[in-house]
Amino acid sequence: METFILVIQDQKEVSKKVCPFLEGKKGRVILMGLISQSSGKVSERECWEMLFTLQQEYEKKGFLVSIGLEKSSPFNLLNLVETLSAHLLIMPREKFLGLRPDEYEEFLEKLSCPLFLY
C-alpha cells in the first residue's frame, strides 16, 4: 500500500492540483497541517477544519486517512517520511520556498522519498 504525505495550505489548491494527481490511486494519505509557531488561534482552527474536511473527502475516495498538525518547519516532516516509509511527499510550493537557500539542499538531501510541489 502506497503512503502519501500531503501538506495542506489552501483547500482550493489541494482540490485543483493534488486531487487529480491522486485520482485512481489507492493507499494511505497523511494530511498534515504545517503552521508557524506564531499562528493565532483562528488560523490554527481554520487549518484543523481544513484537515477534517479533506479527511472526509479523501476517505470517500477510498483512502485510509490520518491527520496531524505541526507548529514547525518542513524539516519536521523528514522524520515522519522516514518512519512511515512514505512514497511521496506532496507539499505546497510556498512551504518549500519558505526555506532558507542553504536549507533547500539539506532538506532534499535528507528527504527519503520523491517530492511533489504544487
Binding site: 488561534k41 483562528v42 482552527r45 484543523w48 477544519e49 477534517f52 483512502f63 537557500p101
Partner: protein, 652 residues
C-alpha cells in the same frame, strides 16, 4: 469564523470520565455508548449503532492525532444536537496515531447528519484546544472529570490566567527589587577610606545618587526578569528600559551610546558573519569529520574525540555553531549504529558549554569581558584555556562512565561514508575558507603584538581584523554578501545586547556596582577562606563570583549577570585587592560552566534540544538532563574553583 468558541455548549461534566481499566478500542466504544444512553442522549437501541459507527469510522483511518489524543467523531441519524464526551484512560491504547504514541485521551464528537458545518468547526476547535501544551498536560494529569471539563472548555479563562500570571510575577518581582534596592542603598554607605576617595565614589552616598541607584537597580533586574518571563519580547523590554533611563535623566544620549559598548557589538556582528560564511563553505564539518577519521576504529575514542572537537570548536568559533555541527554528526552516528542520540547530545552540549570558555571569542561573555576588562586573547590562553581544557577532559571521563553501555554499542561507524554525505560547494572555495579561518585565528591570537607593532590603541587590531575579513567576504561573494550580512548575525540578539550593555553600564555610572563591590568585600571579611592567609578575602570573593555566576547562569542567560558583575570586578581590581585579576576568570568560567545545569542554561542547550525535537519528533526528557547536568556543573565548578584558588595562591 468566530475568534471565541464556546465548547460548553457541546460538552457537559456528566459525559466526562476517567477510567483506569479500559484496554481495547471495543471496550472504549462500548463504555462511551452506554454512558451516552445512561445520560439520556441516545436510546438503548442506538447503543449498538453508535458502537458500530465508531468502529467503522476507525476502519477508514485512525482518529488519533498524536500527542496521546484521539478524536473519534461520527455523524449519525437519531441524534438531534452535537454531543461531546471525553474519556481519560490510565494506560494508553494503540490507536495507530501518526507519532506512534498510544492514546490516553479520547474526545468524542457525535453529530446529526444535517449539522455538518458546525460539526467540522467544533472538531477543529477541539483539536486546537488539545494542541495547547499546557492545556493537554493539565488534562492528562487530571484527577477528576471536573478538571478535564474546566480545561477543555475554559480555555480562554485559562490562557488569560497564564498570561496574567506572568504579569503578576513581573509586578511582584518589580516590587521586591525596588524594596531590596531601597533598603540596600539607603543603608549601605561607602566609608571615607582613601581607596574610595581615589575611586571618587564617596558622592554615591548623597540622596540624589541613592535615588538613581534604586531606580537603575530596579530597572536592570526587572529587565532581566522581564526577559525571562517574556523572552520573545526581550528587545521590546530592553528598549523600554533604555528609554526609561533616558527620559528619567539618569543617562544622556552620549552616555547611552558609550555604554552600549559599540566595539564589542561590532566584533560580535563581524564574527557572526565570518562564522556564517565559513559554515556555508563547509569548513567546520570538514575539519571535524577529517579529525574524526583517526578515531573511528574505537567507539570510546570516537565519542571522546567528538566531545573534544565540540569543545575546541566552541572555543574557536562559538557554542551554537559548534553544537549544530557536532550534533549533526552525532545524529548520523546514532542512526547508523541504532544507539539513542541522547547520550551524544548531552555529552556534546556539555563539552560545548565548557569549551566556550576556552578563548575570548568562544562566548559573548568572553568577548564582553575581553573588551570591558582589556584582557587580551593571550590572557585568555594563559588563564581560562588550561582550566577549560582540563575540565573538558574530566567531563569526557564522566560522560564515558555514565554512557559506557551506549558508547560500547556504537561500533562500525564509517567516517568516510559520512564525509561523502557532507556537501562541500567546491574544494577551491573550501581551501580559501580554511586559509581565512586559520589567518583569522592566528591574527586574533597575536592582536596585542600587532597593536604594539603598528603603534595603535589596544584592541584596535582585534576589532579591525574581523571587520576587514567581513569586507573581504562581502566583496568576494558579491550578491551573496548581502545575504550573509542580513542572515549571519542574529540581529534580534544584537539589539538586545546593546540595551543590556547600556543598562548594565548604567549600574556602574550610578554607583551601584561600587556599593556591591564594597558589600562583597565586607561579606568576604565575615566569611574568609582562612586557609589562604592574607589572600583569604580574595579567595572568598573568587569562590563567591564563580559559584554565584555559575548557579545563576543555570537558570537565566549568563550575559546579564556577567554584564552586571563586570563593573563590580572592575572596582575590586581598582581597589588594589590582591589577586583581584583572577575574578575575571571566575565570572567567565562560572558563566560558561553554569550553563550545563539546566536545559535553559545556555543558547547551545536550547539549540541542541531544538535539533533533537525536530529530528525525533518528541520532547526532550527533562530528568535525563537534570541528573547529568547537576553532576557535570558541580564537578566542573568545583574543579575550576580548586584550580583558580591554586592560581591565586601561587601567582596572586
Amino acid at each position: 469564523m468566530p475568534d471565541d468558541f464556546d465548547l460548553r455548549d457541546i460538552f457537559s461534566p456528566d459525559l466526562i470520565f476517567i477510567h483506569p481499566q479500559l484496554k481495547t478500542k471495543e471496550e472504549v466504544f462500548e463504555f462511551i455508548a452506554t454512558k451516552l444512553q445512561e445520560a439520556g442522549e441516545i436510546t438503548v437501541d442506538q447503543v449498538k449503532t453508535i458502537v458500530a459507527a465508531l468502529k467503522e469510522r476507525e476502519s477508514l483511518g485512525s482518529t488519533g492525532i498524536g500527542k496521546e489524543i484521539a478524536i473519534p467523531h461520527i455523524t449519525c441519524k437519531g441524534i438531534t444536537k452535537l454531543i461531546g464526551s471525553a474519556l481519560l484512560i490510565e494506560e494508553g491504547i494503540d490507536w495507530g496515531s501518526l507519532d506512534g504514541k498510544p492514546v490516553r485521551l479520547l474526545v468524542f464528537l457525535f453529530a446529526p447528519e444535517e449539522k455538518r458545518d458546525e460539526y467540522l468547526s467544533t472538531l477543529a476547535e477541539v483539536a486546537r484546544v488539545l494542541h495547547i501544551p499546557e492545556q493537554l498536560k493539565g488534562i492528562l494529569r487530571a484527577k477528576n472529570p471536573d478538571n478535564i471539563y474546566e480545561l477543555l472548555t475554559g480555555i480562554y479563562k485559562e490562557q488569560r490566567f497564564i498570561r496574567y500570571q506572568r504579569f503578576l510575577y513581573f509586578g511582584v518581582g518589580l516590587i521586591i527589587f525596588f524594596l531590596l534596592a531601597k533598603i540596600t542603598f539607603t543603608h549601605v554607605k561607602i566609608p571615607p577610606l582613601p581607596i574610595y576617595q581615589k575611586l571618587g565614589a564617596l558622592h554615591f552616598n548623597e540622596p540624589f545618587w541613592i535615588n538613581r541607584e534604586i531606580f537603575s537597580t530596579t530597572l536592570f533586574f526587572s529587565m532581566v526578569l522581564g526577559t525571562l518571563l517574556f523572552f520573545q519580547y526581550r528587545v521590546a523590554i530592553g528598549g523600554l528600559a533604555l528609554s526609561l533611563l533616558l527620559i528619567s535623566g539618569v543617562m544622556d544620549i552620549e552616555m547611552t551610546v558609550k555604554f552600549m559598548s559599540i566595539p564589542t557589538i561590532l566584533f560580535i556582528i563581524a564574527v557572526m558573519v565570518i562564522v556564517k560564511w565559513l559554515e556555508e563553505k563547509g569548513v567546520f564539518k570538514f575539519l571535524v569529520l577529517h579529525g574524526l577519521r583517526y578515531f573511528h576504529n574505537s567507539p570510546w575514542l570516537l565519542f571522546s574525540a567528538l566531545m573534544l572537537f565540540s569543545a575546541l570548536l566552541a572555543g574557536l568559533v562559538d557554542e551554537v555553531s559548534a553544537i549544530l555541527i557536532t550534533l549533526g554528526i552525532a545524529v548520523e552516528i546514532a542512526r547508523r549504529t541504532k544507539v539513542g542520540v541522547i547520550p551524544y547530545l548531552l555529552s556534546l552540549v556539555m563539552a560545548t558549554n565548557i569549551g566556550s570558555a576556552l578563548t575570548l571569542i568562544g562566548n559573548p561573555i568572553g568577548i564582553y569581558l575581553g573588551f570591558a576588562s582589556k584582557l587580551t586573547f593571550l590572557d585568555f590562553l594563559k588563564n581560562s584555556t588550561p582550566i577549560a581544557i582540563t575540565t573538558v577532559l574530566i567531563v569526557i571521563l564522566i560522560a564515558l562512565l555514565f554512557y559506557r553501555r551506549e558508547v560500547k554499542k556504537s561500533v562500525g561507524v564509517d567516517i568516510k561514508e559520512l564525509e561523502e554525505k557532507v556537501s562541500i560547494p567546491s574544494k577551491g572555495e573550501l581551501r580559501l575558507a580554511i586559509i581565512v579561518f586559520l589567518l583569522f585565528i592566528t591574527l586574533v591570537v597575536f592582536h596585542t603584538f600587532l597593536e604594539k607593532l603598528l603603534q595603535v590603541e589596544e584592541r584596535t587590531v582585534l576589532l579591525a581584523l574581523p571587520l576587514g575579513i567581513v569586507g573581504f567576504i562581502v566583496f568576494k561573494e558579491q550578491e551573496r554578501g548581502r545575504y550573509l550580512i542580513e542572515k549571519g548575525p542574529d540581529w534580534w540578539t544584537i539589539l538586545y545586547f546593546m540595551c543590556l550593555f547600556a543598562s548594565a553600564a548604567c549600574l556602574e555610572y550610578t554607583g551601584v556596582t561600587v556599593k556591591i563591590a564594597y558589600l562583597l568585600t565586607k561579606a568576604a571579611k565575615l566569611l574568609p577562606l582562612t586557609l589562604f592567609g592574607n589572600l583569604a578575602e580574595s579567595a572568598s570573593i573568587l569562590t563567591f563570583l564563580l559559584w554565584g555566576s555559575g548557579l545563576f547562569s543555570g537558570f537565566v542567560d549568563n550575559l546579564p549577570i556577567v554584564a552586571a558583575l563586570v563593573p563590580v570586578v572592575k572596582n575590586l581590581v581598582a581597589s588594589g585587592m590582591p589577586g583581584a585579576n583572577l575574578f575575571w576568570w571566575s565570572l567567565l568560567i562560572g558563566g560558561c560552566f553554569g550553563g550545563n545545569l539546566t536545559m535553559i542554561g545556555s543558547t547551545a542547550n536550547l539549540v541542541a534540544i531544538g535539533v533533537y525535537e525536530r529530528s525525533y519528533r518528541r520532547h526532550f526528557p527533562f530528568k535525563r538532563w537534570l541528573f547529568l547536568g547537576i553532576i557535570v556543573t558541580f564537578v566542573s565548578l568545583f574543579f575550576a574553583n580548586c584550580l583558580l584558588l591554586l592560581k591565586l595562591r601561587t601567582n596572586p
